[in-house]
Symmetry: C2
Subunit: 423 residues, 2 copies
């Protein structure tokens, strides 16, 4: 069974907006064993949309439309599908009543045009949409293929706003599709690693995962992280889970503590979790990353138990004010130096009373380091220091990329340094 | 003239990866007066790809393929287009020599499969690709339409990696398309506003921009910002520019200082620019945003001239340590209170010696405020204070949304508060 997803809306044919619903829909369809073979993006144009609908219904078993169910003249998905399948649209009295009620509840008169939202394709099941005015539609029909043979097609119409589409797809569409498709039980696992080249991960893990042809392995790399996604479908969940767990165990044995997460948690979550397990607290002193590390940690709910805060020591003077770094040290070694990184980490630890103090100082570019000792240092030079009650370690990095990448990778390295220290 | 963009690659039919090249290509095509009417995403499957190519060539005047030009068996764009147009592929000796040279330069033997990258569609112009091994192809041909009439079609093959596709499109494709299309001169402007509902912007600006039907107006809203894009094409650039500038001027007069940027600069850039113009410096004391505001400012190169840094006063104790907030004040009023916000802004200003001190404290959720005075305060309650030598202003907000949204909007409000203060 193959599917096509059609995203409807002229705004997605501009340079400014992109279809993202299809990623969510694809994930759900894959869970049911359905591969997406085509995605089409088409504007609010009846002839374009009708032709796209005809093509999709001819080449895919399942066609999912997102968008074009609103009340305006530009909302044409219902009309296009009716034209493509030569079906009539009839106004559903129950939906129409609901529409009038929605407006009445806001003490407004419904514009006549909105009545089209009650139009239902002949034979379609109406999918109740609690979060919006446009219901979805689910059509399970038999059509004749090019050679005149009867063939089953499932056509699904969903509203475009993601907060309406997602719950509607999960609660109304997935159970109906599952009932229409062969039973299937899926197990999934996600391993995450940081700061390791994709080619190394693949070289070390391919000999393992290739022994599991029944587990679909996907390696994704980006933003200083590698993800290994495993997916297995079996007649029973226990069988599927057993295969995925067995493979994951072998990969974990091979990659050891390069793996920061074996059930999909983010690096920030894992660092906070490990701090919590050992009852440790953390404080940050950031120069070039300017709060990025603290921001990443505090994005996690509950971080306040283990993350105290810290300082953004962007100017030289604040390195002294907030972390007690001697100003002569900054002047002689330069703000981007192992000595200043060390003093920052130790200073922020002392000032905040945290168990661990971490500092980041770097030349993020695009301009060179400040006049003085840093003037000749290369863009991408980073020092990260981690101070504990026992000792302070300083790490030097030479990163490549633009300002954004250097800052991100510096924060990623800092998180990994904390994680490895705690382990 | 309408265009279709076909993104080729099975990875873009998974839940994990998305076509983004089409946004860049659309921008460039729009500049040339070409609208994109369809986008198709298709996997590395010869029959799917050939059928998608046939459909696109039938319904669009210009078809741009991205991807599928690599050396592997999965790279099938050349073959599919040849099949769709019934053209032969011939190996180009010059490209083949180049391919051998690339491998020789790395002291490697070229695998036989790579030779397919020299295959060129009969009649196509080869587009030299300095950043990769796969050249592009540009085909300007006449085909017969469904009714047997001759019709001109332009078919363009581009490599998938964005760092190869973008320069190739700009330097090799755009000039060729411009020569094939009617001359056109474009003027563009971008106005940006923050913290104002889209409906208000539209209600106030529509009566103005509707008087300029020759200027294409696009309103985009998201992340606490509204963008107004204006685009005008005329026989001369001066005419186009004059129309766009005249419209922008009227919109600026209507929206006044709601507009933070009249040439596309970001809010962070505008705040830093305004600090610079008045020779002011800034420091931050962030509680719930945990460094997000500082991180946004320091993401801008050159920010160190006007942004000194600050403190992430996540724990109550650090509010005292770094900003001198009396601990009794935190205990009695709660960390999320106008009094603590004021003390934080004034304290950080004094400690850092900055001209302006700004603080943010809020209940970001998903959990409730800390036990004590904050326990009953609602999620989304935010206090922002801005302290200058003259006075301190405190702003209360009640934001809706999840933790990420509340933090983002709080930082957005803080930037706007600084901007308005400086104005």
């Amino acid at each position: 069974m193959i599917a096509e997803i059609i995203a409807v809306g002229s705004e997605m044919l501009t340079p400014h907006r992109q279809d993202t619903n299809s990623l969510y829909l694809t994930d759900g369809l894959n869970d049911l064993g359905v591969q997406v073979a085509f995605k089409t993006i088409v504007g609010d144009n009846l002839s374009h949309l009708t032709s796209a609908a005809s093509i999709a219904i001819a080449r895919a078993d399942i066609v999912v439309f997102s968008g074009g169910l609103g009340p305006t003249e530009d909302d044409l998905t219902r009309e296009a599908v009716a034209a493509a399948l030569n079906l009539t649209l009839r106004s559903d009295p129950a939906i129409l009543t609901q529409l009038y009620k929605r407006f009445a509840a806001r003490q407004m008169v419904m514009p006549p045009n909105n009545a089209k939202q009650s139009d239902v394709l002949d034979g379609a099941t109406v999918l109740d949409n609690p979060t919006g005015s446009a219901p979805g539609q689910f059509l399970d029909i038999t059509v004749l293929d090019a050679s005149g043979q009867p063939i089953r097609k499932i056509v699904i119409l969903l509203p475009g706003p993601p907060r309406e589409l997602k719950p509607l797809f999960d609660t109304e569409v997935k159970p109906r599709l599952a009932a229409a498709l062969p039973p299937r039980h899926l197990a999934k696992r996600l391993l995450r690693m940081a700061l390791i080249p994709e080619s190394h991960v693949d070289a070390r893990t391919a000999p393992i995962y290739q022994q599991y042809p029944d587990v679909e392995t996907t390696i994704l790399a980006g933003s200083g992280e590698i993800q290994l996604h495993f997916l297995c479908a079996k007649p029973t969940l226990a069988e599927a889970q057993q295969r995925v767990d067995e493979l994951t165990e072998k990969i974990e044995a091979e990659m050891e503590d390069s793996i920061f997460s074996s059930h999909g948690e983010s690096l920030e979550e894992v660092v906070l979790l490990n701090l919590g397990l050992r009852d440790l607290t953390l404080a940050t002193a950031e120069s070039c990353t300017g709060g990025l590390l603290a921001q990443r940690l505090t994005a996690i709910a509950g971080s306040s138990r283990y993350f105290l805060g810290g300082a953004v020591v962007y100017s030289d003077a604040l390195k002294t004010t907030f972390a007690g770094v001697p100003s002569e040290l900054v002047a002689t070694k330069g703000p981007v130096s192992p000595e200043v990184a060390r003093a920052l980490a130790e200073g922020i630890r002392t000032r905040t009373g945290a168990s661990l103090g971490i500092s980041i100082t770097c030349i993020a570019g695009p301009g060179p380091g400040a006049p003085g000792p840093d003037a000749e240092k290369p863009i991408g030079l980073v020092y990260i220091a981690l101070a504990s009650a026992q000792n302070t370690q300083v790490k030097e990095l030479n990163l490549r990329g633009d300002r954004e990448m250097i800052r991100w990778w510096a924060s990623q390295n800092a998180l990994e340094l904390i994680r490895h220290h705690i382990l």
